[in-house]
Amino acid sequence: MEKMERQPGKVMDLYSAVSKFINDGDAIYLAGFTHLIPFGVAHEIIRQGKKDLTLCRATPDLIYDQMIYAGCARKIIFSWSGNPGVGMLRGFRQYVENGQLEIEEYTHFGLATRLLAGAHGMNFYPLNSIHGSDLPKYNTLIKTIKCPYSGDDVTVVPALNPDVGVVHAQRADREGNVHLWGIVGEQQEVAFASKKLIVTVEEIVDESVIRSDPSRTFIPGFLVDAVVELPWGAHPSYAQGYYDRDNAFYIEWDSITKDEADVKVWLDEWVFGLEGRNEYVKKLGSEKILKLLPKNMFSYPVNYGIYL
């Protein structure tokens, strides 16, 4: 048998990762519960004019509101739609109220369970919730079966296996072995449930950094199709230990979206008018950036030991 060289890493630039892996009509899941929301990828999807996407996320957040306004979305699969800490999500709300956007709605636990089934390679999973609400009347994918052990009714939801998952994290090596900490949300389930996976990180580190703390490895590199180094890739959401959530922008979005013309101006200025994340960070400016930098708080080191 012929000797084989180890494959090179999966590092790509943002443009190539999005154009190679995300297609019109795909169901995609841009992960992250308040934390590490991959805005950098979303803006690239908008710039590339991707269309007819089914956008899956527990909380559509500003990221999907921007994609809805930009015309990327055909349908939203979600469990809570709002501007966290501020109020409503005007784009989502307006498009739904006008019948321009198809929705498929769950509770948080329902959507989390869909992802878990997808991540575990099961067709469906049960949960002991939702049946007390009116949701099953309006979402027929939420079904009831008989528990084979107790005979009681149990709610089941189908697996969710997005065509493409996107996870932003603090660091990864060139193979995509991901270290992620802070609020871990649904990122791991999205990584295992998705058919393709794009990872963007604050910094690409040497494999030895990953190997120094394997209990923090959240996603194994072999699940990952593309690794993109994208500092500030989650702004205006945050990256624990790297930068704070830009709460001021979350509030500003509420006033920008009071008039769709203002949204267009914003998209032109902050998305279409910029080539990528580097320009975005430059445009944010040093004053804003310094304001969002936290003081350091390192965890106590752990000892893995050396076993010879």
Binding site: S81, E97, H108
Partner: protein, 256 residues
């Protein structure tokens, strides 16, 4: 010291928590109430946030449910699925706080839609974890403004189940939590009777029963021994204003 109705609601909610209880907390008034309880009445209360943070001791007021200040210095962080499966569904949460756009006489809450689901007048946020909190937490405390809009005869959509059509209906569905326990408003406090129907037990100082009834969309039951709420104490107000919400983000404008 004079006080706002938000301060009254927070103080009443804080007093309802017992030491060592595990409390599922949201942002805003419930967060203030849980932290006020932790400072004064229930030092061992464990605050659990929907974002998957357990034992948070934030150094600043969290603005969003997933604020990074909740993570630094907390006891544990778990995944989105785990917080619902391991903590709520497993039955480990003692108290859950809820709010909503509409509540009915059986404590059912609507945070989904005003009008028809397919042709909404107002599309609201949806369940989030509300349905799970309502289903699994041992007791539910709801904080909600008291007016006809929020207290209609019937909710347009049940997002988070209270007693559904009455205590028996909730039991028939075998929802694990005990259901709503208290509804705290700017006018008073309501509990639930043997049938699971809301009953006014406390009115806040200066509020008349008439005013409560006028602001409720059904013929609200009144407890035979109706009490007046003890107003927020100076100590409660000091902790709220100086430590927990110094900028008045959630407590609103002060009168003094």
């Amino acid at each position: 010291m004079s006080y706002t109705s938000n301060e009254t609601m927070v103080a009443v909610a804080a007093r309802a928590l017992n030491n060592h209880e595990k409390v599922f907390v949201g942002i805003g008034l419930p967060n203030l109430a849980a932290n006020l309880a932790r400072k004064l009445y229930a030092p061992n209360v464990i605050l659990i946030y929907e974002a998957g943070v357990i034992g948070a001791e934030p150094l600043r007021l969290p603005i969003s449910i997933g604020d990074p200040c909740l993570v630094t210095g907390s006891l544990a962080v778990c995944s989105f699925h785990n917080i619902f499966a391991n903590y709520l569904q497993r039955g480990l949460i003692d108290v859950g706080f809820l709010g909503g756009a509409q509540i009915d006489r059986f404590g059912n809450l609507n945070t989904t839609v005003i009008g028809d689901y397919y042709n909404p007048k107002v599309r609201l946020g949806g369940s989030g974890g509300g349905c799970e909190i309502a289903t699994f937490a041992k007791k539910i405390i709801t904080i909600i403004p008291h007016n006809l809009k929020h207290f209609p005869a019937e909710v347009d959509f049940i997002t988070s189940p209270g007693f559904l059509g009455g205590r028996k209906e909730r039991q028939a569905l075998k929802l694990p939590g005990n259901g709503p326990e208290k509804v705290i408003t700017n006018l008073g406090v309501m509990e639930f009777d043997a049938d699971g129907e809301m009953i006014l037990t406390h009115i806040h100082p200066g509020v008349s029963v008439e005013k409560v009834k006028e602001n409720t969309g059904w013929d609200l039951k009144i407890a035979s021994e109706l009490e007046e709420t003890s107003p927020p104490t100076d100590e409660e107000l000091k902790v709220l204003r100086e430590e927990l919400d110094p900028d008045g983000v959630y407590l609103g404008r002060r009168k003094d």
